[in-house]
């Protein structure tokens, strides 16, 4: 059993939790993920490691309640436990293995979209701890959806915020901001690391290909085991089929077949929708209408 040590609501529907998981905390690195299973009947939910405390033996996850399982997770409170929590899974970010001297020579831009800010954070923090200055763009549809801005500002040399509707920071999407930095602020980059919705990673990769900047993306296909056993997470990179859970989750953005991955992500849409409905109907029942006194 894995205990919830801390819970915060970062934005509407976006939650942060610290989970006690000693083995994971001891051996994880930025870029890796865990799989959590709420209880006996839960599904295996992959989530990126957002931070970790080796001494305390805890791991931080940030998740958006998008469907039945993540909504169910959001109901858990400090002191409650999850039945299963396994990791670290996947490969650590390539940057972690590069010598600090090499890293310092590079001009690196991180691009974080929405909840994707969570997985970007540990990488930027790692850079800071190794004396490497990096820039970071946090993008979201609107101000309410910006998370971890304060934390990111502490670790990135420059942290820019962009909102599609201009409700906060730069008005425009992350690509507009990348162009703005390069064309109007005289910036140049050797490497872009983009993590967010697939559609964002696709368009950032298209832009950086034009600009000739190497780009790493973090793919989050549907997974089951996360150990290379089922092949659910396969995707096409260049002319090869890769399993994201063991070969990734980070890949060269200029080689990933994003369109195929987007289609694969909605494979279970009908079943997922049904599950949400079931969860809601369950709730309706719990909150009354049945004479059980659950009404407010």
């Amino acid at each position: 059993m894995y205990k919830i040590l801390k819970k915060e609501v970062l934005a509407n529907n976006i939650y942060l939790m610290d989970i006690e998981a000693k083995r994971v905390a001891k051996s994880c690195f930025p870029g890796q993920f865990i799989i959590v299973k709420i209880d006996e009947k839960g599904e295996r939910i992959p989530l990126t490691i957002c931070d970790y405390d080796r001494e305390a033996g805890s791991v931080t996850i940030v998740f958006q309640a998008v469907g039945a399982s993540t909504q169910r997770m959001a109901e858990y409170e400090v002191g409650d436990t999850f039945r299963d929590f396994v990791g670290p899974l996947g490969c650590k970010s390539e940057l972690v293995d590069e010598p600090d001297e090499e890293l310092k020579k590079k001009k690196i831009l991180f691009v974080a979209g929405g909840v994707g800010t969570a997985p970007v954070y540990p990488q930027v923090k790692w850079m800071k701890e190794h004396g490497v200055d990096v820039d970071c763009i946090i993008g979201a549809r609107n101000k309410e959806l910006i998370i971890l801005e304060e934390e990111m500002k502490k670790v990135a040399k420059n942290c820019y915020v962009a909102t599609d509707d201009g409700s906060y920071g730069f008005k425009g999407n992350v690509n507009d901001k990348i162009k703005d930095l390069i064309h109007n602020e005289g910036k140049s980059y050797d490497l872009v690391i983009a993590i967010g919705p697939i559609i964002m990673m696709k368009f950032v990769s298209l832009l950086t290909k034009e600009l000739g900047i190497k780009t790493i993306v973090s793919m989050n296909p549907i997974m089951v085991d996360g150990t290379g056993m089922c092949g659910a997470c396969r995707l096409t990179v260049g002319d090869e089929v890769k399993f994201a859970c063991v070969d990734g989750p980070e890949f060269d953005g200029h080689l990933v077949n994003f369109d195929e991955s987007m289609k694969r992500q909605v494979m279970y849409r009908t079943e997922e929708g049904r599950a949400v409905l079931k969860l809601k109907e369950g709730d309706t029942h719990k909150n009354g209408g049945c004479g059980c006194g659950g009404d407010k």
């Binding site: 299963d84 990791g87 092949g231 089929v241 279970y268």
Partner: protein, 461 residues
Amino acid sequence: MDVLKKVPVREQDPKVRATNFEEVCLGYNKDEAMEEATRCIKCKNPKCVTGCPVSIDIPGFIKEVEEGNIEEASKVIAKYSALPAVCGRVCPQESQCEERCIRGIKGEPVSIGKLERFVADWSREHNIKPQPPETLNGKKVAVIGSGPAGLTCAGDLAKLGYDVTIFEALHEAGGVLVYGIPEFRLPKETVVKTEIDNVRELGVKIETNVVIGKSTTIDELLTEEGFDAVFVGSGAGLPKFMGIPGENANGVFSANEFLTRNNLMKAFDESYDSPIVSGKKVAVVGGGNVAMDAARTALRLGAEVHIVYRRSEAELPARVEEVHHAKEEGIIFNLLTNPEEILVDENGRVKGMVCVEMELGEPDASGRRRPVVKADSEFTLDVDTVIMSLGTSPNPLISSTTEGLEVNKWKCIVADEVNGKTTKEGVYAGGDAVTGAATVILAMGAGKAAAKGIDEYLSTK
């Protein structure tokens, strides 16, 4: 009674069972078992035993069954096997113990598997538990993987007084027994859980959710965590695909994914969260036990199911019993047929599978006649789901993170057949991780051999 024939075993009616996940074979009751036991002539030099990879004293336990001493019979089996209820159900008896039974020369062999199953089920129902050793020897052994190889190695070492911990990557112990083989052939709650609990009774600890090579490494187990030896029984869990166009479409699954969703994640049960898409018309590509399991699972989820296999019926690698059961339940066999392309609609979903017909040519290296494409035989099979069941290979997670652990060109760990010794000191291996995908009982045999090897190593160290 006709001594040339096995006492028939009761089964669920094919029409009924095609719609549920309950066990197909109902097994013998005590009277039936005692009757079948009389057919064994208790050979002085029993050939059947030479066909059993763990050399169970078959006439020994059958004699006890004949006399109605089922508890005694279970004690005889327990000396050799920790998973009799499993083996009695899934062992390919017809090519092992029963193939060599002298009753088989004239008539049917003794139903050794069904008798073993009966004894194991009876012991469970009568709550017979194995006895842990009285004293521990103070030495610690780590076992990686909780499949049949790992469970057997752990059980045997525990009986010898070792302090054993099994590390399992998944959230449930059992390996293929829980994630691969379906409920209707091997009930999880009653059969698998009980046999794993029996291994625990011997003092074995099982830590789930630990991926060796990620959560920790073999070297850390040997140094930081104080284990004196390690056994690797990590199986052959990496699925193969064909590499044909359309294979990444929605609706194409590996048998591992399809079976894991249904067995381990219990997607067939509405009250569990994991989804499964069963499809209306399913093609299962392959002809092994795994293919039969995937096909019969899809059928139970409500689909019309085709087995697509490139050779003929005679070459089907699946057990005869499984093929027979599959046919009874209404699985359609498209033999001498090979897929060339999966057709995909504009939403990325499977809308058909282009196949060619095959004919058998000259024998190849394996001695089986090589299938060759028949000219102009292309046709489209109307399916919305394709399950690839083309075999698996060992996962490189452990070998790639363990210095000095040699693998061969198929990524199988190199280990001595007699004692499980690998190229790294203190590290032993066995089961599918060493041989590639094989059988439950061979994995158990390897786990046993390695337990002996580890005991010899640690007794002299």
